[in-house]
Amino acid sequence: LEKKQKEILNTDYPWILNHDHSKQKEISDWLTFEIKDFVAYISPSREEIEVRNQTISMIREAVKQLWPDADLHVFGSYSTDLYLPGSDIDCVITSELGGKESRNNLFSLASHLKKKNLATEIEVVAKARVPIIKFVEPNSGIHIDVSFERTNGLEAAKLIREWLNDTPGLRELVLIVKQFLHSRRLNNVHTGGLGGFSIICLVFSFLHMHPRIITKEIEAKDNLGVLLIEFFELYGKNFGYDDVALGSSDGYPVYFPKSTWNAIQPIKNPFTLAIQDPGDESNNISRGTFNIRDIKKAFAGAFDLLTNRCFELHSATFKDRLGKSVLGNVIKYRGKARDFEDE
């Protein structure tokens, strides 16, 4: 098995192996099944979760040994179960006495973890607005980012977990959109891409405002295929980025005119994404997403690719459909072979 897992799969859409849905009457339903297969495929196995938890608790113990007043918490996509294989684990160290973000502390933690054989390839970023240390835990190979004394990430993660509970389909569509943007290198906030929280807000709004969902006529989980296409339709073709901001009120998403959001006035470039931070109404969580032009274009392209694929497969014979992928037209996944089970 070890050897098998290290082989690189010779396909761009490995989730279709042994999972044939080409006999579905509606292509949208075929796509729904493929989305579920993809999500199952990239979801971690029990062993992977075990390794990750052990790794984190060893690092936590080491932190507490160095600083008895401190604790380490996981936030970000690992704590919300919205991560892709190989993504970094985001952690934050908080402490009773505070001040763990000082330059000296960053370096003493780095050397402490190194001495305990818990960190290699260490990078200390002391001068940034948010000081962090980055390293690879050598036994698991997991990449870890540690930040200090900031609890806003923990609060956001708590909120996102509530949204996930209240919003069927949110997890599946977020993972697809993340992988889509990842393979186009449009998900890195440091290069103007769309960050994880912003992606969640876009999908969250889409699902809670959809005419068929607000009237309870459809269940999102049964309709992931058509909903994915309509997500790309909304944010790739129709959304008014110039005039509309996203926000939330009482746990539900809202749109509102950008012109009524005082904290972001004056608006220099109107064609930008504006998402109000649920934890701080003066903060635009997508202010770093300066490349919305390419992101919108990519979404519109995905809409065209998927709908064209639907038209093509709709008129194809069952024989010609065999072995084809609908989702594979917009998502590629290359990496280690992964075993996955159907739920």
Binding site: I218, V226, E230, G240, V244, Y255, A300, L306
Partner: protein
């Protein structure tokens, strides 16, 4: 019936739209699996307070039905999911009245 133009006229035989042919009809992919009618509440209500416009950001109408100038430069010839036309017949009445 002798008029040659009749044969050039585009009309979708699936949805009667004149914007596309049936091979490219959105109804091919915009196909929902509906909740079983017996499981649905007897009288459907339209929750106007959860309707927001993607074009102007105001409440109470869907983006396709916005009266303001369209802000996106990508055309929306065939209509999107966010329109009153995407509601079931009885709710459509409630929305458009």
């Amino acid at each position: 019936s002798q008029c040659p133009h009749k044969w050039n006229k585009i009309q979708c035989t699936l949805c009667k739209s004149e914007k596309h042919l049936k091979e490219r009809c959105p109804s091919i992919w915009r196909a929902y699996i509906l909740v079983d009618d017996s499981k649905m509440a007897k009288s459907k209500v339209l929750p106007f307070h959860t309707i927001y416009c993607y074009n102007c950001g105001e409440k109470g109408h869907f983006g396709d039905d916005c009266k303001k100038r369209r802000s996106s430069r990508v055309p929306n010839d065939d209509g999107s999911a966010f329109t009153g036309s995407n509601l079931s017949a009885e709710l459509k009445q409630e929305y458009y009245c």
